[in-house]
Symmetry: C2
Subunit: 133 residues, 2 copies
């Protein structure tokens, strides 16, 4: 993580009408695409400042510090911007699993023979992740 | 590409108010994230039916058969859906470059030392890609 927390970096992004850009999280060493979520300006700035990935939750309309409930945090290794500035690629070190279903990646269903087919099982129960008893 | 062109597969996606889902293209063997774009129902169905990636162009409001102008097509190797059904991961075989700037990936700028820094040069001139003289 070589990025100094410069507050002007987010200014070069093209946020949409809702103030958001799409953000892809990819495990930095294996290349596995873990998830896609959204960031507003504050989420980008906080992520650059702390080195811990923070998204914007559209459902909760609040900053979403990844792993704050589950402990499954993402440490930022690098942040990249796409050619038209409305998407980010986050290279991360994922602690545990990225998906709320307990799977490593959210992309666990694949179109095969005309059906969406599960190609990955949970590594951990969501009940354990979210301390439900 | 083991997917039969079943027209009901897109029905399980959660399209947004504009009828779109976000789609990430990743080179299937190297893991490189190439680009992010959007698909509507017809683009998903066409991609599954033909095995050639087709997006929806928000700027042109039309189907965008990737490579139709530049020849830089994407052959679909696999299509995956995320946990909440509003994003797709396309594993592709990219012909040439994915980015309209002539770079392999659209994510060619990285936040380094407080600035967005180019980390990849064009492989080919856009003038060559788009036959401009």
């Amino acid at each position: 993580m070589t990025t100094a927390p410069d507050p002007t970096l987010p200014d070069q992004l093209r946020f949409d009408a809702a103030g958001l850009v799409c953000a892809i999280a990819q495990q930095h060493d294996t290349g596995e695409v873990l998830m896609v979520a959204w960031m507003n300006r504050d989420a980008v700035a906080e992520t650059l400042a702390t080195g811990q990935v923070c998204y914007w939750s559209r459902s909760r309309q609040a900053l979403w510090r990844k792993g704050e409930s589950s402990g499954q945090t993402q440490r930022l290794v690098a942040m990249r911007m796409d050619c038209d500035g409305d998407a980010l690629l986050l290279l991360v070190e994922q602690t545990g699993v990225a998906c709320h279903t307990g799977r490593r990646s959210c992309f666990y269903r694949e179109a095969r023979d005309g059906a969406w087919t599960e190609i990955a099982a949970p590594d951990v129960s969501p009940d354990v992740l979210y301390h439900r008893h």
